[in-house]
């Protein structure tokens, strides 16, 4: 299968004497329709690798290819545009904008991309919220939603522009087991039923076990890549 996103010898270090290495020589391929997890102990560089893959951070070495195109050296505006069009992010602390309702939070990336007219944008936002079981919660601000509901709003927002890649940074880290399981099922469905590539940083070995590909990291380096039988 052709890789949607491919990192070759990716590196990220912070200036210093000696430089602080966050990620080193990371070579990996993310394929559509797969649920990939990145695991490892705290501080091993999981989130740093995720930010590099999601074009939020700039690599200090190596090559990053999206659909075969080198995107590692793109300027800020081009990277922002790609994040808007191709990527969806879900973070541990939901990261919704507090002044905006659930509906408005989902509308933000749709309106910023500007491909849909007002009516179509509204319909899409409502459908995404409904798909996450949030009917009737559209006009609630984040402070009036439970942790699980907030994370589902964040997933709806991540899907707003129909991205090819969903990136999660400990998306279940702040949820109870019930909501955590629901999020994992959602991610699996996004990969297996909708053909998206889902990459998730996690400490939870249960989630890792449920994924198609597990990338293990230690001290900024990828030490193992395991494929589940389904993927093979």
């Amino acid at each position: 299968m052709t890789a949607l996103l491919e990192g070759r010898q990716l590196a990220r270090s912070l200036p210093g004497t000696p430089p602080i290495v966050l990620v080193a020589e990371a070579t990996l391929a993310i394929e559509p329709g797969t649920f990939t997890t990145i695991v490892g102990p705290s501080g091993c560089g999981k989130s740093s690798l995720l930010y590099l893959l999601g074009l939020i951070d700039h690599p200090t070495g190596g090559t990053l290819l999206l659909d075969g195109e080198d995107v590692g050296a793109l300027d800020g505006d081009a990277r922002a545009r790609l994040r808007l069009e191709r990527f969806g992010f879900v973070f541990q602390f939901h990261f919704l904008l507090p002044e905006f309702t659930a509906f408005e939070n989902v509308m933000l990336p749709i309106r910023r991309l500007g491909r849909l007219d007002d009516a179509a944008a509204r319909t899409r936002a409502l459908q995404l919220l409904a798909a996450q079981g949030l009917e009737g919660k559209e006009d609630e601000t984040p402070d009036r939603l439970s942790g699980g509901e907030r994370q589902r709003v964040a997933i709806a927002r991540a899907l707003a522009n129909d991205p090819a890649l969903i990136l999660g940074d400990e998306p279940t880290g702040n949820l109870d087991s019930h909501n955590s399981a629901r999020v994992v099922e959602t991610f699996k469905a996004l990969a297996h039923e909708q053909g998206r590539a889902v990459v998730c940083v996690t400490h939870d070995l249960g989630i890792a076990a449920a994924s198609d590909v597990r990338i293990s990291m230690l001290d900024g380096r990828i030490v193992a890549v395991e494929h589940s039988p389904r993927h093979d």
Binding site: L97, E99, D169
Partner: protein, 416 residues
């Protein structure tokens, strides 16, 4: 399709709505700045316009006198311009003072569109009453023309300009001079010219006190009376001209002077020192008002700067979902603009209210009740709005630039 700018504007409004107290303080700062700018500038410009209109109207816009700015070239120089020999020490012929060929000058001035020219003769006489003497300058005029080119008719406390024609030997003097001489309306006074000719003049009008242009030591008589008294029949030495556009007076004066050679002095030239004072006044006014608006912009800076500090996490979220650095910068600049626009609108209301109050005040000046002259021109409203918007944008731009430079990785990693 939803536009990018309405979206960014909506986010800016949401941010401000969460900081109501600070927003109110910043908006009030701009409103007070704009309001006081309007009130102060209305007074300054109003009084300035009033002053200039008095300056323009008190005397003819242009006065052509029988003076020359430089001596006329001698016949030898005229005959051989650029000659190799220069003559010195020759005797200059004495010429009779007065405007030569003045009917031609008068006709040329009258021919200017909308212009009116009034001939007059000025000279010195001594008024005697009992043992009291006052040396004054008299101006011989044609009352019907003169009242059309100057405001002397409206500055009469008693009598009319026309009375100079109906009363034999009539003279109009100022109230102060009359008081010094101890005379009033209808009284007679003896006048002696430098030539020794003596006339008996009757007071037919009194100028109001405080009219500096109609000095306390001058009087108006009929032109032919002045010519007779001063022993200069058919001679005039001054032509006053009123032009359609007072601000073109300098150009017209230059043209007439170039054509006829006599000194043609515009009101601008006569009042150049006062006009330069007005420029200084303007500089002071705009400096003070700029300082007020600068202080108001500090309020905007504080609000936007605090907003950027508080919204670092939101900035990181928006960056991660695909908002560009320019988007973030625009959101915070929009906050500055919104604060300025609301401040300007409220400031306009405040300023209009202050002007209404100032306009209703009544001051006793020189024995008359006068109101403060105010300028209600749209220009000042536009200047206040423009300056406030500029101040708002500049004040918001600095923190907005900071917002655009927020590193989302740093925030996201810190929150994780």
């Amino acid at each position: 399709m939803s536009g990018r700018l309405p979206l960014l504007l909506g986010i800016a409004i949401k941010h401000l709505s969460r900081r109501r107290r600070q927003t109110l303080v910043a908006v009030s700062g701009v409103a007070v700045g704009v309001g006081f700018f309007l009130a102060v500038s209305a007074m300054m410009i109003g009084s300035q316009n009033d002053f200039i209109s008095r300056l323009i109207d008190a005397a003819p816009h242009i006065i052509i006198s029988d003076e020359l700015r430089s001596p006329p070239p001698q016949p030898g120089v005229r005959a051989f311009p650029g000659g190799a020999v220069a003559l010195h020490g020759y005797k200059v012929r004495n010429e009779v003072r007065g405007l030569k060929d003045w009917p031609a000058i008068l006709a040329a001035a009258d021919a200017l569109p909308g212009a009116i020219a009034s001939p007059s003769l000025t000279g010195g006489v001594t008024l005697r009453l009992g043992g009291h003497e006052e040396a004054i300058g008299i101006v011989g005029i044609d009352p019907e023309i003169e009242k059309r080119i100057s405001t002397i008719e409206t500055n009469l406390r008693m009598g009319r300009l026309h009375d100079l024609e109906t009363v034999q030997g009539g003279i109009i003097i100022g109230e102060e001079l009359a008081r010094r001489l101890g005379i009033g309306m209808g009284d007679v006074v003896s006048a002696t010219a430098a030539s020794g000719a003596t006339r008996t003049l009757r007071i037919v009008g009194l100028f109001k006190r405080g009219q500096s242009q109609l000095a306390s030591s001058s009087g108006y008589v009929l032109l032919r009376e002045a010519q007779s008294m001063l022993g200069r029949p058919f001679i005039i030495n001054r032509i006053g001209i009123r032009v359609a556009d007072p601000y073109m007076a300098q150009t017209v004066a230059t043209g007439l002077e170039a054509r006829f050679g006599y000194k043609a002095e515009s009101w601008q030239e006569r009042s150049s020192d006062l006009l330069s004072l007005i420029v200084v006044r303007d500089v002071i006014m705009y400096s003070v008002v700029s300082a007020i608006l600068l202080v108001a912009s500090f309020g905007i800076y504080t609000v936007v700067s605090n907003s950027v500090s508080d919204k670092r996490r939101d900035i990181a979220i928006m960056r991660s979902i695909g908002f560009s650095q320019a988007d973030l910068q625009l959101i915070f600049i929009a906050q500055g603009i919104i604060l300025s626009v609301i401040g300007v609108l409220l400031g306009w209301l405040l300023g209009t209210g202050l002007m209404a109050i100032l306009g209703s005040l009544d001051f006793p000046i020189a024995g008359e009740h006068q109101t403060i002259p105010l300028d209600h021109g749209a220009r000042q409203y536009a200047i206040a709005a423009g300056a406030s918007l500029l101040a708002g944008v500049v004040a918001a731009w600095l923190p907005a630039r900071k917002a655009a430079r927020v590193d989302p990785v740093e925030i996201l990693r810190g929150a994780a």
